[in-house]
Amino acid sequence: MTARKARRVVVTGMSAVSPLGNDLASTWASVKAGASGVRSVQSFDATDWPVQIAGEVRDFRVDPFLDESQRSLGEILPRNVQMGVAATAMAAEDAGLQPESIPPERLGISVGAYTTCINLRQAAGWRTLMVDHAPPRYPDDEKRIDLRLPQVSIVEALGDRWRAGGPNYVVSTACAAGTQALGSAVRAIEDGRADVMISGGFDNMVEEVVLLSFSLLGVMSQRNDEPERASRPFDRQRDGFVISEGAAILILEELKHAQQRGARIYAELTGYGASMTTEHITDAATDGGAPAAAISLALQDAGMEPEQIQYVNAHGTSTRGNDKSETMAIRKAFGEHADRLAVSSTKSMTGHLIHAAGALEAVFCVMAIHDNVAPPTINYEHPDPGCDLDYVPNEAREMPIDAALSNSFAFGGNNGAVVFRRLQE
């Protein structure tokens, strides 16, 4: 509970690189305007594929965000880490973070990330090396991007640059990773193992093999003719999620540490809860039970009653199963207050950033509190009797928001929920 937490955690900087914009200002402006970032796939030829749409980050270059000493890294960093580098630099600038003023061991990193970075050309290259044995001897010190060690990339690109010598978590729980990374970061600060954590997520699953594999599973929208209308969480005609890419980073800081250096405080991260759905690996919890437990644990950790929350950023993937299950979970955890909540899925605009989704949606929760605006669920046209909450249809809503909760539920059963609140004395 807030009162008994000796060390409180606040947000002092944020950033986003998303299909809606390459920084937070443009991304948030698009969210408030209800714009979609989903388009036909540009980065490779998906003509005639079952799924031809995605939320891609456009015109992105990492160079401006790299230190002089790191320029040579640029071309060999995988794209997800590149976007993470950019998001970290922007969040650190937003927070006025100066690594030289923090002892290295007091600054840590906790990010949701995965390491898939493979396209068909690379896979074909691997086949040549592994099956055809050409060249006959594998070249020494080859700097191929597809053979880079992901852990090395994250430490080299983020750890070294920001002198982050504290805890270092790469959380890999698929769709829940961004939220669970925030959870690990919060605990590290609360337990006194760090004063500042760079936390969030990055992912670039808009890759050929990923797009193909997911579409084989039948969980992606195939509304190829109308990309901007494809992600339609809670709508009766929803037919799956849209895969996206991007990054979001929050600078989390112990309250006194932030106050002492006179940092701007966006909000307090008051609670985190996690649970595991153990019924089926890719289906949502049938009764919403385990996700509801994560929400209740987060509220309990925050020392808050359900009635104190005004806005919920839903996981809201736009799959048939998730949206119905999540509606039940919200009802179960919030009781009667569920009908008074503004609940929206920003995935209707951004698509699903997988390992970065929870991080970006946490940023939206903080901005919702900051601006007193609930983001909309766009493409909401046909009410579904199984999804009967107030989803803030199609247009952002100005309303007082002091506290917001963000949900993430993964393929693989991991659930996480995180609570933000306007800083109280």
Binding site: E105, D140, Y169, R187, L217, T278, N414
Partner: protein
């Protein structure tokens, strides 16, 4: 954290493991005592075009036979199958089953490494899409290739797949962590589980790591980063921690998962206790190539673990080092041990299991912890395999022949994940 939370102690009440040298703690101990590393030329695939062509493999492993489920055998990648089996063994070893586990109060913490579905899943599709000149042809891919990609590919590629199957089988519905790491995952999972139980977020955690580095891609990656020995002609002598002639690890594979329990609950149900997890520290060496900076960070990390355990340096009776046998890695951890524990640190026995098993990746931290409990039970410390010419600049008392009849109450485990993730754990013997 309140006073009450501070007092929650955490016992280890079960363990399950698979390694290249045995599938029980007793087996591993006996084979370690035999003093020979089982490394040899890679059997599982053709490694002839790689700079490192040796590894330690789990012998006679057949996923289909051992997993008793054709579906799991198909979906679990190498390493994950070890994890699944180790989980089953740990739960049964702790005297638990799916009926007796309190789901919402029981969590799971895993350290692993996974890079999506097998790249081989795409090879048939690619082969079908190649032109005569050997180029990928988009139309051929659409017409002939796509249908050759196995439909379960994405489920197989989920980073948290193994964790899910374990949680599903044993109804572990509470707090959960899946750390992707390069060697440090298992030790981190144990440390974070200690914290979660102390905070009261769980009463029981299944925690540890699994891994397999024995595949073409990892051998290529790790060898190119100079993390693996290239002593292909003498595989059994290749992994030589703290030796003057060390040149890296031998890639191995395995799993070790443990049951961590709130001490009161463990005592209440009459569980047998291996020992106690008392303190945890974690840190990252930055810049990662700066050995002095890494040493400072690891020194702080060890102090953090001691403070967390509430014990002084002189209360540590032995050290289990990471011993990845890289020139820099071994130097950093020996110096940091001396810095953090002072003169006492240079006098107590220092050993490592690693050269007896090869580097078990994310399973190494938990596997080595299991051996520390064995050491405290037997009051014996086994020597470092292949340490023939101790590097004179490394300041610790390396164990080179078995030491028996000791008084071992408490030990320090150091774990290094590449490139520079450090974990320190303080462990105590059963019964204090």
């Amino acid at each position: 954290m309140s006073e009450a939370d501070e007092k929650r102690r955490v016992f280890v009440t079960g363990m399950g493991l698979l390694s290249p040298i045995g599938r029980t703690a007793d087996d591993v101990w006996q084979r370690w005592a035999g003093g020979r590393c089982p490394a040899g030329p890679v059997k599982r695939f053709d490694a002839t075009n790689l700079p490192t062509r040796i590894a330690t493999e789990i012998p006679d492993f057949s996923p289909r036979k051992e997993l008793k489920s054709g579906r799991l055998a198909r979906l679990l990648r190498p390493g994950e199958d070890f994890g699944y089996l180790a989980a089953a063994a740990a739960i049964s070893d702790a005297g638990l089953d799916r009926e007796s586990i309190n789901g919402p109060r029981s969590g799971i913490a895993i350290g692993c490494r996974k890079e999506g579905p097998k790249v081989e899943n795409f090879f048939s599709a690619i082969k079908a899409s190649l032109t005569e000149a050997g180029e990928m042809d988009h139309q051929k891919f659409i017409d002939d290739g796509i249908k050759l990609i196995p439909p379960q590919t994405i489920v197989e590629g989920l980073p948290n797949a193994c964790m899910y199957y374990i949680a599903h089988e044993y109804v572990l519905q509470g707090i959960n962590y899946n750390f992707l790491a390069l060697g440090s995952g298992g030790a981190m999972a144990l440390g974070e589980s200690l914290r979660a139980i102390r905070r009261g977020e769980a009463d029981l955690m299944l925690a540890g790591g699994y891994d397999s580095w024995v595949n073409w891609v990892y051998l290529a990656q790790l060898s190119n980063r100079r993390l693996l020995s290239r002593n292909n002609d003498h595989p059994q002598k290749a992994h030589r921690p703290f030796d003057s002639n060390r040149d890296g690890s031998v890639a191995g594979e395995g799993a070790c998962l443990m049951i961590l329990e709130d001490a009161d609950s463990a005592v209440r149900r009459g569980a047998s206790v291996y020992g106690e997890l008392q303190g945890y520290g974690s840190a990252t060496g930055v810049p990662h190539e700066d050995l002095a900076a890494c040493t400072r960070v690891l020194t702080g990390c060890i102090r953090q673990a001691l403070a967390d355990a509430g014990c002084g340096p002189e209360e540590i009776d032995f050290v289990h080092l990471s011993g990845d046998a890289t020139p820099g890695g071994d130097a950093v951890e020996t110096r940091a041990t001396m810095e953090a524990l002072g003169r006492h640190g240079t006098q107590i026995p220092a050993t490592t299991l690693k050269s007896a098993t090869g580097h078990l990746g994310n399973a190494s931290g938990s596997m080595e912890l299991a051996m520390m409990f064995e050491a405290m039970k037997r009051q014996t410390i086994l020597p470092i395999v292949n340490l023939e010419d101790p590097d004179p600049v490394l300041p610790l008392s390396f164990v080179t022949s078995p030491m028996e009849g000791l008084e071992l109450r408490r030990g320090l485990l150091l774990n290094r994940g590449w490139p520079s993730h450090y974990t320190a754990l303080v462990v105590g013997r059963a019964g204090g």
